[in-house]
């Protein structure tokens, strides 16, 4: 297996390296003025210089705080509403039409309304992130919990599990793979949305850095937050993947 994976990785690195090489060639050829397209070296140099500055850590921390707060709210609400709807037909009858209506609504359009009602501080950004990440998690939980085999529930009841505990002991663990898939989608969406919210109105965070750089035409500084958010997304994704491997140890396939 390891032998097979190694060339795959090289093959995967190729387009990324080619893109960076193409970028450098365009800069060298002089077709694009440096003011519009800085060289990749200067961008990466600025990025590593920024990594050592405490101000930059502060921006990343602000973004991450909003991201995690919104994501956590979405996970708690999504999983509990999803489970409740899958188990109780009454809840299902109320939740299903609401989700059908609200899921296809572009949530960014709600942002002005959130600003007007919750103010320009953290609350409006966190609720936008939560609103956007909620639906994939809710739906994944709902589908996962509806797919739980009836036989498992019957066996648990036959073994004497009280009705109230079945949802915690059977339904939740059995739908965990699906829930984690939903969380993964929700996490990527959270990182996208938190950036956008910061771009629209903010005084700190990575999105604000980008807008600030764009206003002053500091092209090199515009690329730094973009690289940062991409790396953050990759790191968070990898962390969730490890968590998934740990949580789903007993499952046949991941």
């Amino acid at each position: 297996m390891a032998r097979r994976h190694f060339p795959d990785m090289l093959l995967g690195l190729a387009p990324i390296l080619m893109l960076i090489a193409l970028w450098q060639v365009i800069v060298w050829s002089g077709t694009a003025p440096v003011a519009l397209l800085p060289s990749p070296f200067s961008v990466f140099a600025r990025f590593s210089a920024q990594l050592l500055r405490p101000e930059f850590h502060h921006e990343i921390a602000a973004t991450l705080m909003r991201l995690f707060a919104g994501f956590a709210i979405a996970v708690v609400l999504g999983v509990s509403i999803g489970l409740a709807a899958a188990v109780k037909p009454v809840v299902d009858a109320v939740v299903k039409p609401l989700v059908r209506i609200l899921a296809p609504v572009p949530k960014v359009a709600l942002y002005p309304a959130l600003l007007l009602t919750l103010g320009f501080d953290h609350a409006s950004k966190i609720s936008l992130v939560a609103a956007d990440a909620l639906f994939p998690i809710l739906l994944a939980t709902y589908y996962g919990a509806s797919m739980v085999e009836q036989k498992l529930i019957w066996s648990a009841m036959a073994a004497g599990t009280p009705r109230a505990q079945i949802i915690w002991k059977i339904v939740l663990p059995a739908s965990l793979p699906s829930i984690l898939t939903g969380c993964r989608i929700g996490l990527v969406i959270s990182s996208i949305v938190v950036f956008l919210a910061e771009m629209i109105t903010s005084t700190d965070g990575l999105g604000h850095m980008l807008v600030q750089a764009a206003r002053t035409f500091q092209t090199v500084d515009m690329f730094v937050p973009l690289i940062t958010i991409s790396l953050l997304g990759l790191i968070l994704n990898a962390a969730l993947h490890l968590l998934r491997r740990y949580l789903l140890k007993g499952f046949a396939e991941i």
Binding site: P7, D8, M9, L11, G12, L13, P15, I16, L36, L37, A93, K96, P97, L98, V99, R100, I101, A103, P104, V105, P106, K107, V108, A109, P112, A113, L115, L116, T117, D132, F135, P136, L139, A140, Y143, T181, G182, I185, V188, I189, S191, I192, F195, L196, M199, I200, G207, L210, A214, F217, T219, M222, F223, L226, I229, S230, G233, L234, L236, N237
Partner: protein, 261 residues
Amino acid sequence: MMWLSRLLTPLAPLLACIGLLCVWQAASLALDTGSFPTALEALRAIPDILGDRGSLINILASLRRMAIGLALAVLIAIPLGLLMGRSRNVAAFFNPLLMVIYPVPKAALMPVIMLWLGVGDVSKTLVIFLGVSLPIIYHSFQGARAVEEKMLWSGAAMGMSASRRMLRIVLPAALPEILTGCRTGLVLALITMITSEMIARQSGAGNILFNAMDMAQYDTVFAMILIVGAMGIILDAAFERLRAMLVRWSDAGRAIPLSYS
């Protein structure tokens, strides 16, 4: 009871809409601040916006950009996704690149792209194209990977060339999954459309929304939110109809794809 539930089921989404509007009305009456108009005030502002020639042209321009971006994405993303699904090497080649691009908010590229291509239609359409492509590639990839090997072998045994197998076997077999990707892409296109116009304030629905916000015309803000929301719901419902018609033979898919937003 039976007739009641049969009557209620098709009406449920409508009832949900009315319920949400009632909650809004009650909340704004309870809060009673100048910046949070009631649902009725917002609904009353809608005909003014749609009746105004300038705003109508703006909204139609938005929809045109969205349609072009989406069409381009469909044309490029589906073949790429299918190729990735059928060839290990193509998949290994593109996967890491797509993973790096995925968490970057496409609308955040807008300031950079604006420097190169200006604030006009080209950069907005390009951003929509980028935003929509990823889910379509991903779903086409998943769909093509799940095609049964045996069908391809039979096709090959019957003397079909590789490109014909792709067109006659892989494409139809992956179609349900591809259309799920397109449905997600449609909603994403609407989102990217709004955000790109919000950043490059020049024309479009997002421009009206955020300009009204800056000028404190809160009725217009909330009316625009309703209009954009209705666009999302209507486009999604229409596409779902089309999807159901095209893949009537397959299992009923999930009512709502997971990867919205």
